[in-house]
């Protein structure tokens, strides 16, 4: 094979970041975000979402919803998160464009149970996506545990989204890491109320980083970035956010 053909082939495979043919990336919506992600949210991988505030957890839910598509979505939830952040309202999920009929909720007692449920769910290839909520900084969630989740997700093709609230980022084997907070909607927007997120892609194993302001459109089931307006810089010591909890 001559050099140019080989180069073209390499460039082509790099552009697709080695995605297998039957697992297309899930586009988030805005072109800027999708380019940075290499086509969209990569299925069969682990994505970490660190949130600040009471509302930003919805970003992880929406990512999981997009990744699941028409397949079932499993949500693993420790009891503490249910008490602190409230129980899921399927009606609310429906209003955002999700399908409550495809949702199964697994309530676990703590982090160890959550990880064992996650590994079971990631082993079944018919599951669309897994949303794993972890509380605080559990000791059992170390590099080895996250690598295990990554391998399981690769094997079966199930996308895993890990939602960490009240936690600081630590070393992990996840493909992407997001830091998300809720952002105010644009003052010019009369139909305010759709979720608006200030999302920072702070780590990406196979691509670039970025800082985006995304608004969810329930009608079309994707994000958009149109006329959102200026984001106030997130203050570091704002009273309104819960502080990170230390190791469990």
């Amino acid at each position: 094979m001559n050099k140019s053909a080989k180069l073209a082939e390499l460039r082509h495979s790099l552009a697709r970041y080695g995605l297998p043919n039957d697992r297309p990336a899930v586009p988030l919506g805005p072109a800027a975000v999708d380019t940075v992600l290499g086509g969209g949210l990569r299925p069969g991988a682990l994505h970490e979402v660190f949130v600040r505030g009471w509302n930003a957890g919805g970003f992880a839910v929406l990512l999981a919803m997009l990744a699941a598509g028409t397949k079932p979505l499993f949500w693993v939830r420790p009891d503490y998160e249910a008490m602190e952040y409230g129980a899921l309202s399927p009606q609310g999920l429906l209003e955002l464009g999700g399908d409550p009929r495809r949702l199964a909720m697994v309530k676990v007692r703590g982090s160890a149970d959550a990880l064992s449920a996650a590994s079971d769910i990631l082993a079944c290839p018919h599951v669309g996506a897994l949303l794993l909520e972890m509380e605080g900084q559990p000791k059992c969630l170390d590099l080895v545990a996250s690598r295990r989740l990554v391998l399981a997700a690769e094997e079966s093709g199930v996308t895993a989204v890990m939602l960490r609230a009240g936690a600081v980022p630590e070393p992990s084997a996840a493909l992407t890491r997001w830091q998300v907070a809720s952002a105010p909607s644009s003052p010019a927007d009369d139909d305010w109320g759709n979720p608006v997120f200030d999302a920072q892609l702070v780590r990406h194993r196979q691509g670039g980083l970025g800082h985006f302001l995304l608004r969810w459109d329930p009608e079309h089931g994707c994000f958009d970035t149109t006329d959102i307006g200026v984001v106030a810089a997130a203050p570091a010591d704002r009273q309104a956010y819960p502080q990170a909890r230390r190791a469990v």
């Binding site: 899921l88 309202s89 955002l96 409550p100 909720m105 697994v106 309530k107 105010p184 759709n194």
Partner: protein
């Protein structure tokens, strides 16, 4: 079966080594403001005491005497335990309070070598645990009850109740004192004599209830029993001559039982939906674990895997004590199932795999912890949907309806707090309007935008609460909440309270 000395046996078994039990044991109970003898030990009976005697008399007659107040709850619990243990003989065991048991041995007697052998086995086994016990076999429960107390070890042939019960004294009828006195007056001393009278005479004097009891006792009618546990559809059990303790043997025997059960299920074209494994310890305790599945199950290895998951997830591991001498696997609910065909429809296959995943998760964490949702037809937001264990029903057919209009932002929050939390709200600009700021969880939030009110009235027919005005608010730093005012100004309350119920995405 009748355990005549259940209360004292309970105490003697437990405190066999205590020194103050060297004296004969008597249990006292208070009735009509005086203490009477409620139960007594064999030695005390030999010394001339009897039940129902005033305690003072008993103390005067025999010294020293060990007296303990009655504890009926503990006795009932012990009887429950013995009934659990008698499950090994037949699944239909019912209580005959306060100190007896009914075992329905229809169809089970041949497993123990005939009725006489079975009665001997049961009596010996219960006596081996330290209880005084007497038993009898009859076709009706009342006849067996009476025979066990007054003519133990009698086995009546079917239809022979009238003859067997005839020589018993009339106290065996266990009717009230007035009836007993009336019968004695009339000179009727045994049940046979009473039976020879016309039923019209008896019902006139003593009531129709008495006549029914007599008829049941004579075997002419039958009073049905209430078994303690539901009868399983299918059952496979294994007895061990030497009690087993090690885990590998327990697992191997469970696998064998599961295979046996699965062959029977396959033959009948059924699958099990509820499985229960019962472990009988030699010291009398029975441990049970139960597992449910969404689809009828026939595969032995899957059954075993679910049981192992449940065993591993137990808070206290299964304690064999001195060993298990009987392990039983019951299919409590078996349903018709179609033969498993390899389906080319990938949806069907996927659905089944998801069902197996849900079964595994439910076996590990408990059925109520794996949930799916059904909508409810109500305006009250916290009741708008209900979480149901995922194995219960088919969820794909539910109808969910949107609250918002097309193109509008969401009208219901993504998360609802379990209980609405009270917030301190700043005074609103308009009486019916949203507050300008509020304090929630020790943080102050300034309201930048608000939409509302959405008025939701509670169900007046249930008298459940005040009308709520819901507001969708966005604070200055971009957080979106769902708050409501509980009650209307000037109508329900002077100072209505504000609550925060939901968090939007």
């Amino acid at each position: 079966m009748w355990l005549p000395r259940l209360p004292t046996d309970r105490l003697i078994r437990r405190h066999a080594a205590r020194s103050d039990l060297r004296a004969p044991l008597v249990i006292s109970q208070k009735a009509n403001n005086a203490l009477y003898v409620y139960a007594l030990e064999a030695r005390a009976q030999a010394l001339g005491l009897h039940k129902g005697q005033p305690l003072a008399n008993a103390r005067a007659m025999v010294q020293p005497l060990c007296i303990v107040p009655a504890d009926e709850k503990a006795d009932a619990a012990l009887l429950d335990g013995i009934a659990d243990w008698c499950d090994r003989f037949t699944p239909l065991v019912s209580l005959d309070a306060p100190d007896g048991l009914f075992l329905d041995i229809t169809g089970a007697a041949h497993l123990f070598g005939g009725e006489a052998a079975m009665l001997a086995t049961v009596t010996k086994s219960i006596a081996g645990h330290g209880f005084a016990v007497q038993g009898a076999i009859a076709t009706t429960s009342l006849a067996a009850h009476a025979l066990a107390r007054y003519a133990p070890a009698t086995i009546t042939p079917p239809g022979g109740e009238a003859q067997a019960v005839a020589p018993l004294p009339i106290t065996a009828l266990e009717c009230d004192d007035k009836a007993l006195r009336a019968l004695r007056h009339a000179g009727l001393k045994t049940i046979g004599m009473v039976a020879s009278r016309l039923s019209s005479e008896l019902s006139e004097r003593l009531g129709a209830g008495f006549v029914t009891r007599l008829k049941v006792m004579l075997g002419a009618e039958e009073k049905p029993l209430q078994p303690r546990r539901a009868l399983p559809d299918l059952m496979a059990e294994q007895r061990f001559a030497e009690p087993i303790v090690t885990e590998e043997i327990i697992a191997a025997s469970l696998l064998q039982l599961a295979q046996h059960l699965s062959t029977i299920l396959e033959r009948e074209g059924r699958g099990a939906r509820m499985l229960e494994a019962a472990f009988f310890r030699t010291d009398g305790k029975v441990e049970r674990i139960a597992v449910r599945t969404g689809e009828p199950l026939r595969d032995a290895s899957v059954m075993l895997r679910l049981l192992r998951q449940r065993l591993d997830a137990l808070a206290d591991p299964l304690d064999p004590g001195f060993g298990f001498d009987l392990i039983r696997l019951e299919a409590l609910l078996a349903e018709e199932t179609n033969p498993v065909t390899i389906s080319f429809d990938s949806n069907e296959n996927g659905r089944r795999q998801i069902g197996f995943l849900v079964d595994r998760l439910a076996a590990r964490f408990g059925e109520p912890r794996v949930q799916r949702f059904v909508p409810q037809d109500t305006h009250i937001p916290e009741a708008a949907s209900v979480a149901i264990p995922a194995q219960d029903k088919d969820f794909d057919q539910q109808n969910w309806s949107l609250k918002r209009l097309s193109g509008d932002p969401p009208r219901r929050p993504l998360r609802l707090l379990e209980k609405p939390e009270p917030i301190e709200a700043g005074f609103p600009l308009a009486p019916d309007g949203p507050p300008r700021f509020f304090r929630w969880r020790q943080c102050r939030h300034d309201v930048a935008r608000a939409e509302g009110p959405e008025r939701v009235a509670m169900e007046w027919w249930r008298n459940r609460g005040l009308t709520r005005d819901y507001f969708r608010v966005e604070t200055r730093d971009g957080q979106r909440f769902w708050i409501y005012r509980d009650g209307l100004y000037a109508q329900d309350k002077l100072e209505p309270r504000w609550y925060l119920q939901g968090l939007f995405a």
